[in-house]
């Protein structure tokens, strides 16, 4: 098992500190000795396959589930005493669970009263999540995307320093996913840390500057998002108009001492530490001088998804 932790890009004290945190359900270990810190002020993407232990970890941090062993702190307080820190935390875990018979405003007022906070901020929160015009409608009449938004609004009451969002894009259509991504971006503030889990990695890639990756309850990566993406290899993609030209093209690439592979009707070249843009230009030139017309030349940079898949592949090996 590979565990990588890179240096924090933000030097402030960790908002979350997990130390050997473990949750066992009879024979099944949902979270296995998870040790990780999340610095303050980041948008931390929490990634892992279904059943990796993301929701269980979040539930333990929020005082909903008791750890079997290990401990953790949230905003500097032990998770054994959630009443000491939950006032500074807003959360959406396992979908939007609010009262269907109450209007959007009544739901938020109820949550505000339960938190011991002011109900006059309810209007601001509704505006923040884009539901100002629907505040008087019953929650039960909302679309799923609106329910997610209101639940995030409920999490925002009391100006939390830490937002924990578990799969906020789950069940949303493409438009809803884009709106949710924009909302998460809008919620980002210097004094706020956001921990957001999602299985749609391309969405997390656009909002996260910190990543936690777990698999089977184990931590496999923790660090800044840029560092994670850099782990996967850059590739040069070469395509010809005539498939028959691929073989002589592969010889040209091999002559440069580079590894080459085939993917459908294109060649994939690993730059092997060399500048990929410069190398792509060189290969294009050499192919042209050999009479091979390239129909496709581009550098394929790693995405969060490709890095993630490569990492999990390495872990399972």
């Amino acid at each position: 098992m590979t565990t990588t932790t890179t240096a924090a890009t933000k030097s402030t004290a960790p908002v979350l500190q997990l130390d050997q945190l473990t949750k066992r359900y009879r024979d099944h270990v949902a979270v296995d000795h998870l040790t990780v810190d999340v610095p303050a002020g980041v948008v931390a993407g929490f990634i892992g396959p279904n059943g990796a232990g993301k929701t269980t970890t979040m539930a333990m941090l929020l005082g909903l589930v008791r750890p079997t062993s290990g401990h953790a702190t949230v905003l500097g307080e032990s998770i054994a005493h959630p009443e000491r820190y939950l006032g500074g935390v807003g959360a959406l875990v396992e979908g939007p669970a609010l009262w269907p018979g109450l209007t959007g405003i009544e739901n938020l007022e109820l949550i505000a009263r339960l938190s011991g906070g002011e109900t006059r901020t309810v209007g601001d929160v509704l505006e923040q999540v884009g539901l100002t015009g629907r505040g008087q409608d019953r929650f039960g009449t909302y679309s799923f995307g609106m329910k997610q938004r209101l639940a995030i609004g409920a999490a925002l009451l009391g100006e939390p320093r830490l937002l924990v969002l578990d799969e906020p894009t789950n069940g949303l259509d493409p438009v809803g996913i884009t709106e949710m991504r924009d909302l998460i971006r809008a919620l980002t503030r210097a004094d706020r840390t956001i921990l957001v889990s999602s299985h749609i990695l391309s969405e997390l890639e656009q909002v996260s500057d910190w990543l936690l990756v777990i698999d089977h309850g184990h931590l496999v990566y923790s660090g800044d998002a840029a560092g994670f993406a850099a782990r996967a290899s850059v590739e040069i993609v070469l395509g010809c108009r005539r498939v028959a030209s691929l073989l002589p093209l592969a010889d040209i690439v091999a002559a440069h001492g580079l590894e080459v592979g085939r993917e459908d009707d294109v060649l994939i070249v690993t730059p092997d530490g060399r500048d990929p843009d410069e190398l792509a230009e060189q290969l294009n030139r050499h192919a042209a001088s050999a009479g091979i017309v390239l129909s496709e030349v581009h550098v394929r940079r790693p995405t969060l998804e490709s890095s993630y898949l490569e990492l999990l592949e390495g872990v399972s090996r």
């Binding site: 005082g63 909903l64 959360a91 875990v93 009544e106 339960l114």
Partner: protein
């Protein structure tokens, strides 16, 4: 606890809920009172086993007007149980208990706030039903041959307060047992099925074959208390037995609620 209490009132003090409660209270107060008044007979003609408290002579006493309320409300035991079971169990089924715990992690205070808020609402509703039942009985009693001249005055007021207190205590018993059942089972369907089966058929079937059942079971104890005692069970005994059940149920429910993972 006060935070949970005020939050719970947000759900209860809505126009729609208030309107439905008011209509239900009036319908129940009028209907049940009419049934009790019309069923009243002279003590000499009452069948064996019938409650002497509901004879024409007894109802003509100072407490007669509110005795009708106390007797009428006893029909609603199941309803009270269903309301309290459903009120709490639905929070688990919908996942809203999780939402509340994220804002009020002191679990016992949360549970206490919820129960006390609903009990407060029930207390106000009961007061309304008592007034409606008394007014209805006052209108109908002369037709049934019941003298109502003693129904006003300080003695009558004292009886009204005593009857109200007894009914509130009886509702509290059902409320705590129902809430405990909901917390332990965490499902509306299962909790209602178990609650109704236990307090309905089970206890009464056992009672039919064993006369001592009324001295042992909580539902029968609550029924005996509401009736002002039966030939088998005194009020004091009913209070003691029911209190033991309520305390044990509350301890079990609180312990489980405080310690269990909330995963739904």
């Amino acid at each position: 606890m006060m935070r949970a209490y005020h939050a719970e009132l947000t759900k209860l003090l809505r126009r729609k809920v208030l309107l439905i409660t008011a209509i239900a209270a009036v319908v129940f107060g009028v209907g049940a009172s009419a049934i009790v008044v019309n069923a009243a007979e002279p003590a000499s003609t009452l069948s064996r086993g019938a409650s002497r408290a509901l004879s024409i002579e007894a109802l003509a006493d100072a407490g007669g007007g509110t005795q009708i309320f106390r007797s009428a409300i006893a029909f609603a035991g199941f309803f009270v149980l269903v309301v309290f079971v459903g009120w709490t169990a639905v929070e688990f089924s919908r996942g809203t208990m999780r939402t509340m715990l994220l804002r009020q992690p002191r679990r016992i205070q949360l549970l206490a706030g919820k129960v006390v808020a609903l009990l407060t609402y029930a207390a106000v509703t009961l007061a309304g039903i008592e007034v409606v039942a008394w007014l209805t009985a006052r209108l109908l009693a002369p037709g049934a041959g019941i003298d109502t001249s003693a129904w006003t005055g300080l003695d009558a007021l004292g009886s009204a307060v005593t009857d109200y207190g007894a009914v509130l205590l009886w509702v509290t018993g059902y409320a705590l047992l129902g809430t405990a059942l909901a917390v332990v089972l965490r499902s509306v369907t299962v909790a209602l099925a178990v609650g109704i089966a236990w307090f309905g058929p089970f206890e009464h079937i056992v009672q039919n074959s064993w006369s001592g059942a009324g001295r042992v079971f909580p539902g029968l104890g609550l029924e005996a208390f509401a009736a002002g005692g039966t030939s088998d069970v005194s009020v004091a005994h009913a209070v003691i037995v029911t209190s033991i059940y309520v305390v044990v149920a509350a301890v079990v429910a609180c312990t489980l609620f405080a310690r269990r993972d909330v995963t739904a």
